[in-house]
């Protein structure tokens, strides 16, 4: 990327939109998290979403991250997903569904007293992996779990 251009862009437009904040986020991922990361949520591809959210599209597989989700989801509109991690210094846990129109489903920012554990319910358009990305100590770690969806949960 061209960091200078990004800075210029941000400086030249005083309007504090979320899109701009996300653009500036390429320089400092923390800044993105201050506002709702619109760019990440509107990204249509997984690497784009990852990059916009966490400033990095590379996550290494880790057995210290566990995704718990049903093997078969009869209703894709409600798929319960639990992410647990034993990694130290967890900053955030994000959940992605690559086949959804917008792969990023949810992102959770943890404080220093919060355990590496979060449960939520997400929508899945069709059978896919659910990918959890944990940011810990500035690095990204991921794990996935396949979920067979018999009835899609997006669109009508």
């Amino acid at each position: 990327m061209q960091p200078q251009r990004r800075t210029l862009l941000q400086a030249s437009m005083a309007v504090g939109t979320v899109a701009l904040a996300a653009g500036a986020g390429l320089l400092s991922p923390r800044a993105v998290l201050a506002a709702w990361p619109k760019q990440a949520f509107e990204a249509r591809k997984l690497p784009e979403a990852l990059n916009a959210l966490l400033g990095n599209a590379q996550a290494s597989n880790s057995d210290q991250v566990t995704v718990k989700a049903p093997d078969i989801a009869e209703n894709g509109a409600v798929v319960s997903v639990t992410v647990t991690t034993t990694l130290p210094n967890v900053e955030s846990i994000s959940v992605f569904v690559p086949v959804n129109a917008f792969p990023l489903a949810a992102s959770y920012e943890l404080s220093d007293v919060t355990d590496g554990f979060v449960t939520g319910r997400i929508k899945m358009a069709k059978t896919s992996d659910v990918i959890a990305v944990v940011k810990a100590g500035g690095k990204l770690y991921s794990a996935k779990k396949g979920v067979k969806v018999t009835l899609g949960g997006c669109g009508g």
Binding site: W36, F102, A106, S111, D115, T119, C154, G156
Partner: protein, 105 residues
Amino acid sequence: MKNKMKIRAWMDKDKTMVKAIIFHPMETGMRKDKKTGKKIPAHFITEVNCVHNGKTVLKCLWGPGVSKNPFISFRFSGAKAGDTLKISWVDNKGNSGSKEAKISA
């Protein structure tokens, strides 16, 4: 529909377990009204803050991919029975809601 939330928070040894449901339609903006054929506008919660003693213990950033009537569960340390946990949310239309719950033993 508005402002409805259920929170349960309790002590599990030295940790606090939290479970919460926020009642919200979480429309993706891609669904069509079957009668009119028009798209139902997106309407979803974007941010949820869970606060204990002025400290945000969990901040959720959500997109339309989160299920209707979202559920969250998490665990944190540093609280004791009788403390208050406050959960507040805002959605993409600027609506918001919040609720406090006492942490039970």
